[in-house]
Structure formats: C-alpha cells, structure tokens
C-alpha cells in the first residue's frame, strides 16, 4: 500500500544515531549523516572505523541495533522493495558464481529489477568488453571490481553505494574508476563511497565525513576541512633512514616538529616565513637531511590532527 505521490526531497540519505554492537566491538556508535541529491559523498576513515558496517546497514544487509534511516525519503521497514529497486550497491568484495560470465551476470541481475540497462553498455563503461564472456573465476581482481561496479549500475539507480571501490587496484585502474565515478555523477546520480585513501576523497568527493571508531569526527567539503585546520602547509624533511627524535630541534626552532617514519613534519601557516629560520636552525644543529619538501596540508593531516593517528595504519 504505497502512496502515489513521489516524495521529492533534497536529501538522498538521512541517518540519525545509527548504532551497531557486535559481541566484542561497538562498530558504529551513534552516527549521523546527511547526503544531498546529486553529490558525491565520501566516508573517509582508517580500516576498522566502521565504514563498511555503516554502509551495510544503510543498504539493508545488516540490521541496525538502533537509529533512523531515510533512503531517498523511504525507510526499510515500509518500502524495502522500492528502495532496493532504486539503489545500486558495490560491496567491498563481490562473490559471484564461479562460472558465470560478466555479460550473463549483468543480464541476470538486471532481470531482478523493473528496468535495467543493456549489459553491453555497462561493459563498455567499465571497459570489460573483451572479457564479456569470460568465466568470473578467470577475471583478475581489478576486473572483478569493475564488474561489481557495473552490477551496481545495472538498474539505472538514483543512489549508488561504493564500498572501497579502488582497494587493490593498480594506479591506472584507480584513475579509470575515478573517471567512471565522475561519469556517474554527470548522469545525475548520487554517490556514497567509502575509502581510506585521502587522495581519492579529495579528488572525488563534493563533501565527506571523517570517521573513526564508529563515529563521525567532522564533515564538510575537502577544501573546507583542510582550511579548518588553519595550517595549510607542511614542510617535510626527509632522512636517509628513520627520522631522529625531533624534540631538541623543535625546542631550538620554537616550532612543533613531528617525526613520521623517515620524515620530520613541520606544519605551518606561512612556509615563506618559516623556511629561512628552519634552514638556519638545521644548519646550526647539523641536521643531516636528504631532501626538503613544502606541500599543502591534506586530509591525512586533518585526520592526524583529529586523532593523532594516520589514515593508513
């Protein structure tokens, strides 16, 4: 018994206080999200942050312990079939029957929906035409990912969920996938993706939320988040081996310095002013560094600032 009026809301997704408790871990801890129609929205966080669990609850695979969700203005309890018909999902790993071919899979899954796109068109979009009739088990990891993406689009969805779409892809394949996401957006769809790659989040997302330990720490546009940091640049000193303890040098310089791996990182508002002082202090202290870079702050730095940890552990 569905009403015939179409609810046009500007929000593709609204989530309030979503919660999921597993026996040993609180995977999602009171999460709020809002995604506008037509935007590419990212959930950025390290492995174990709860991104996949969150997504799976929104997609209706995993039942939530508590919280409210509105997907395209509909909720799971009353309009499950309607939601499923209008969303597309790319799971973190898609397991299909071994000896099914991409073309067959697209046709089969397409048949589950009221309307579907032609298999060939989708295969061209993800560049799998030459593997159209190969058994699924013979595809490489990257090819399987691309097929999974094509499957997510088979029903011409308004809202597409992509869970870690470029994990395990080589750089060229990643670029290719980014192009597809841009194409999806041009077609007017809404995209919600999860990732732990900062460059991906910056390049693809209109807005994003940074997650850790099942919670959203902050959200906004990539640029906005970086600017919030108020330290738009980072000076890096690269060492040959592991970076030495910077405490003494930081004291001499009068500026915080953090060691990370083989780097010393010195965030700053004004690199032009810092550089001469830095170089001189380094000279005086006899610091033996190999290279010096000045880069702008990234989402990685935002995360670091918020949690004290890096995105990729």
């Amino acid at each position: 018994m569905t009403t015939m009026t179409t609810m046009t809301t500007t929000l593709a997704l609204k989530v309030r206080q979503l919660r999921k408790q597993y026996p040993n871990v609180l995977a999602v801890d009171g999460l709020d999200l809002e995604v506008m129609r037509g935007e590419v929205f990212g959930l950025l966080g390290p492995n174990g942050a709860g991104k996949t669990t969150t997504l799976e609850m929104i997609e209706g695979i995993t039942p939530a312990d508590s919280g409210e969700m509105e997907i395209l203005g509909l909720d799971w309890k009353h309009a499950g079939a309607a939601i499923r018909a209008r969303i597309g999902v790319q799971l973190q790993s898609t397991s299909l029957f071994n000896k099914i071919t991409p073309r067959e899979a697209l046709t089969l899954y397409g048949s589950y929906y009221p309307k579907c796109r032609p298999a060939m068109e989708l295969l061209e979009l993800v560049q799998l035409v030459d593997k159209a009739d190969a058994y699924h088990m013979t595809l490489s990891g990257g090819q399987m990912q691309r097929l999974a993406l094509a499957l997510a689009l088979v029903n011409d969805p308004e809202l597409v969920f992509l869970d870690e779409p470029t994990t395990g892809l080589d750089p060229q394949a990643r670029r290719g996938l980014w192009d597809v996401v841009r194409q999806i957006k041009r077609e007017g769809r809404t995209v919600i993706l999860t990732t732990h790659y900062m460059d991906e989040a910056e390049v693809l997302c209109d807005r994003l939320a940074i997650m850790d330990h099942g919670r959203v720490l902050t959200s906004g546009t990539p640029l906005g988040l970086i600017q919030q940091l108020a330290i738009p640049s980072v000076v890096e000193l690269a060492f040959a081996a592991a970076a030495p303890d910077p405490a003494a040098f930081a004291g001499a310089l009068g500026h915080p310095v953090t060691a990370r791996g083989d780097l010393w990182e010195i965030p700053t508002q004004d690199p032009k002013a810092l550089l001469p002082a830095l170089l001189e202090a380094a000279e005086r202290a006899g610091i033996d560094y190999q290279q010096i870079h000045v880069r702008r702050a990234t989402l990685e730095d935002v995360f670091l600032h918020l949690t004290g940890r890096s995105l990729r552990d």
Partner: protein, 351 residues
Amino acid sequence: MLLLRQYLMECKLYSRDRVAMFWTFAFPVLLLLAFGTIFRSGSAPSMTLVVTGAAVDGPAARDLMEALRQSPVKPLVLKPAEAEARWRKGDTPAQLDCAPEGMRLRVNTYLATQGQMTAQIVQQASLALQVHRDGREAQFLPVAMESPGHAHSGNYAAFLLPGLLGLNLLTMGLFSVGMVNVSYREKGKFRRLAVTPLPKWIFLAGQVLHRLTVTFAQAGVMLAIGYFVFGIANQGSWLLLVLVMTLGTACFMSMGFALSGFAKTSEGYGAISNVFFFPMMFLSGVYFTLDSAPRWMQQAVTVLPLSPYLKALRAVFNDGANLSGHGLGLAVVGAWTLGSFLIALKKFSWA
C-alpha cells in the same frame, strides 16, 4: 518471467560444473553396472564334490558319480594328499571319502549352506541307487519353478536400481541442495543477491525446479541403462512412479534446505548432515534389505524417510503393485517434507 530465467540460469551454471555432473550421473550408473554385474543371479554357486579315498575306483563310487552326472554337483577326484590340502585351505564345501568299508561325507562348516546342499544331492543320488539295486525305480516328486504372478525379478540389479534412485535423491537433497547453499552463504555469494529486489522464494524455487529436472534426467539415465543392460523394466504404473519420485524429491530437498539453515560453515554442515545421511544410506534398504536385521533396527529405520520411500518405490517398480498398504510409510515421508519445509522457511537467510 523471472522464475523461468532463474531456472534457466541454474541449468546453465550447473552444466558448466563438470565435477558435479559426473557425481550425479556417471557415478550411480557405474555403481549399478558394477554391482549388477557382480551379483548377477542365475549363476548358481558351484557345487564341487571332492572325491577321494582308497576305494575311489571301486564300483560303489563309480556308480554314485555316474548318478551325479545329471545333477548340478561336479565331482572332482583327487589323491588323498591333495584332497586334504584343499580341505585344510577351506576350499571344499563337501567331500566324499571312499573307503573299502563304505563311503562317508564330510561337510565344511564354513561353507555350510553350499556344503549341505551338495551333501543332500549326493544323499539323494545314493538313495536312488539303493532303490534301483532293490529292483525298483526311485520316484521323484515333480518340482515346478514358478514366479508368484507379478513379474518379481530375482535379479539383484533390479533390486538395486530403485535403491540407487533413492540414494541419488538423498545425496542430491542433503548435498546438492543443503551443502551447496551453506557454501554459497559462507562464501558470500548470497550477499550480492541480498541487496537486489530478488525475492528469496524465487531463488529457492529456481533451485528446486532445477534439481527436480536433474533428478528426473538422472532417473531416466539409470532406467535406460537398467533396461538395455540388465533387462529391468518398470513393472508398475509410470504415473505412480513419477508421483512417488516427486514426493521423494520434495522431501529430501526440503531436508537439505532445512539443514542448511543450521550451519554457518561447510564443515559444520557436514557434521550435521552426516547424522542423517549415514544411517539412511546404509540402513534404509538401498543395497540390501533389512529383513534379517533385528526387529528394533527395522522399526527404528522406518522413522527416517528413505526407508518407507524405497519400500513404496520398489512396490511400484519391482512388484508392479499400487500404493495401498504404503499409506503409513508415505505419510512419514510427507511429514518429513512438511516439517522440513516449515523449518527451511524459518531458518533460511541470505546472510
């Protein structure tokens, strides 16, 4: 429509699984051919009578062996040492010792049945000879070998074939349906389906229809081989046969679905299904009847569905009978079907 497409895809994917097709089609056929040939009846056990002793060339012995010529007993004359060696080995069912004072028979207790039969025939021949010497003719009662009316074949292959059909159903239900679905779930192959609007029942129905197709194809192959190689034919109504087989298919597939809801992993499923599989496979009359088993065992087995199913199947196939008298047995099968189906509905999930 959607169900038809789902069914066709199941068929297509199945046909690409060479291993499954072998185990489903070729293996039972091999079993039938092997066992049917090994236990081909009509070859009576050999009745060798070892004849030895000092008076083996005497008139009494020679007369007796002459009288035995028409009988199935085959005399084998050996020297005493050889005869003793053969006896020690246990190869001799019966031996005739011909001493000057008289003849006597020795029967091997290990080969008692054969030995006794042989000895009885020798006794008969000996008595007939005595009557003859007294000047009269021995009057044997005429014996007619008759079949009891409907064409009950004594061929073991004819007994085995329905048993194998039943075993096929059991295996298909418990493994091709049960294990396969647990494995699919375990490997996450259902998750992608869970986000689509595909109704669970269409997926299951597609599977059921496909397995049904395989069951009948398989049965067709077995029946054809049975007919052309062993001359076994369905003695009863084809309609009844199809009905019984459909009930059996429904029962074992439901059991497979139901069991699959209780296991998260393939190993776990294996353990659960073995509890049902092995008792049924060995004790339900697939390979041999339980007629000589203890009463309690015979009764215990009728609680499981394979035994009553096979009884009904054999009644139609081997005896050409109808199903009256199998009402209780078929009700047992029906109860398992319904119960399993309800459990399956409750416990089957995508995740």
